[in-house]
Amino acid sequence: MADHELKPPPPGGMLPHWRVPQVLLTAAVRSSSLLGHDLMNRFRAERYQLFLSGHLALWLSAGVVLPLLEYAFWYRTPYVLLFAAVGAPQCIALAFGLRLARLGRYSQSISLVCVTNWISAVLVTLINPNFLAVMALVALVPVVFAEPYIRWQRGLAFTVITAVCVLTMAMLARFLPIPEVVQHGPRWLETLVIVVGVPFNAFHLMVIVWNNAAALKTSEGRLADRAVELAASRTRLATAADEERRRLERDLHDGAQQHLVALSVLIGLARKTDGDRYQALLGEASELVDTSIAEIRRLAHGIYPPLLVSGGLIEALPTLAARAAVPVHLDLDSLGRYPTSTEAALYYCCSEALQNAAKHGGSGTTVTVTSHADDKTITLTISDTGRGFDSATIGMGLTNMTDRLSAVGGRLVIDSQPGRGTRITAVVDTSV
């Protein structure tokens, strides 16, 4: 097929060979698909387990398998098995740490790994002081990795312990005589362990450090974005509150107050009149009083619905639905009482959505309001059969709804397309 031929070559094919190490390094340090760039969000799972599995593999290969191979093929002396005697418990500790991590107990897990790693590193240096450099680096690895998982007091203690541990190892290497049995062992194997172990661990340490820094940078960026969004949302909320007060002033001034003013004029006239005119003026005045009362009742209800205070959403929403200008089908399930701000936010979302449906939905629009609540969240869905709109062009009302919900720890999902109705879903976390 023609489009197969048009396909561009895979990007990997364009990479010059000399750039491969650079790309790999960048991937490891900054944007590895395994570790991800949003490390802060994934710290608690993949990253930790990846590290611990790698560390376990390292100890298993260099601390258990290698000594056993040495014993089997190159240097059959019980001394070699001492390494495996240290490596095996360390592997068991790491496996246990991995299990703790799966249970989400990261702080305990990393502490266990750090402590056993220090002990093992000291013991290995004790067995063969020539491995000081490798073991000093190995002693640092879990501590450097631990930083995001533990409280800073413990981090401080770990730092001091690590320093003491490395000092102990240095002293052991400096003052203990190299055992005879070590001197007669295969030197090439020792050299191999040092030549591979030192750069590998140094590199590993740097990867961890840069990875932490990259994660921090990413989360900083996200925090900055969030701060900007919060500031904008706060401004919008303040504007909306001002707008609301202005509307209230206008409603009071143009509505109830005007009726009362006219009433005052009519009563003033009536006081100086008698006979039929008096009755007519009183009749007119009485009408105005009724209108004013209805007006004030409507206004007060708009400010805060009384049923929402006394009975919560389960009682206030049916009234709201009954007053709506479009037919509303309610399916409210297991709604309880929630903090006032949450109930108000959800109520006004529903109110706004019903108004939008009535205003923009077109003739024949019907609305269905469903709710679902469990221990953690309330979900309120308002769907209409109206005209719908392009969800990229949401108006002020919907923006206000989004802000209002996010202020109570909720979020709003708007799903609409021209000709396919609108579904607005408000979800609020009630567990906090």
Binding site: D254, Q258, H259, V261, S264, V265, L269, T273, L281, T291
Partner: protein
């Protein structure tokens, strides 16, 4: 009560004094227009000459004459009472325009005092006595 806006002295030629004073009311609130009609109804020498709901229609309809006093609400949708007064005053300097609202004098925009209005009236103070007094004072 009411305030005479400084700088305004209307000159009437006196001919209308012998007849009924023709009053126009401009207000977007029907309830107040009804109350004004009832007030004028109770007066022998004042008569309702016409009413309208916006400043724009007032400018257009009052321009043809036929009014001695215009009771003009300040806050209306569109042009508003102050601008309407300015235009009516420019066209007919002798016509008495009384600005009205429910706000205190301090809450009125500065333009209210120099738009050519003869007086400011709190709406709730409207009464036959007051209308007569305004007419006599400005006459």
């Amino acid at each position: 009560m009411y305030t005479i806006v400084p700088g305004k002295r209307s000159r009437h030629d006196g001919t209308v004094a012998d007849e009924c004073v023709r009053v126009w009311v401009v207000d977007d609130q029907a309830s107040f227009r009804r109350a004004t009609a009832a007030t004028l109804d109770a007066m022998d020498d004042f008569v309702m000459a016409g009413e309208c709901e916006t400043g724009e229609s007032a400018v257009e309809r009052i321009a043809g004459g036929g009014a001695d006093i215009v009771l003009m609400d300040i806050h209306m949708p569109g042009m508003g009472g102050i601008e309407a007064t300015r235009q009516i005053h420019a066209a007919q300097p002798d016509l008495i325009v009384v600005l009205m609202s429910t706000y205190d004098v301090e809450d009125l925009p500065a333009a209210a005092s120099n738009c050519g209005a003869a007086a400011y009236l709190h709406k709730e103070r409207l009464s036959p006595d007051l209308l007569s007094r305004i007419w006599q004072t400005t006459n």
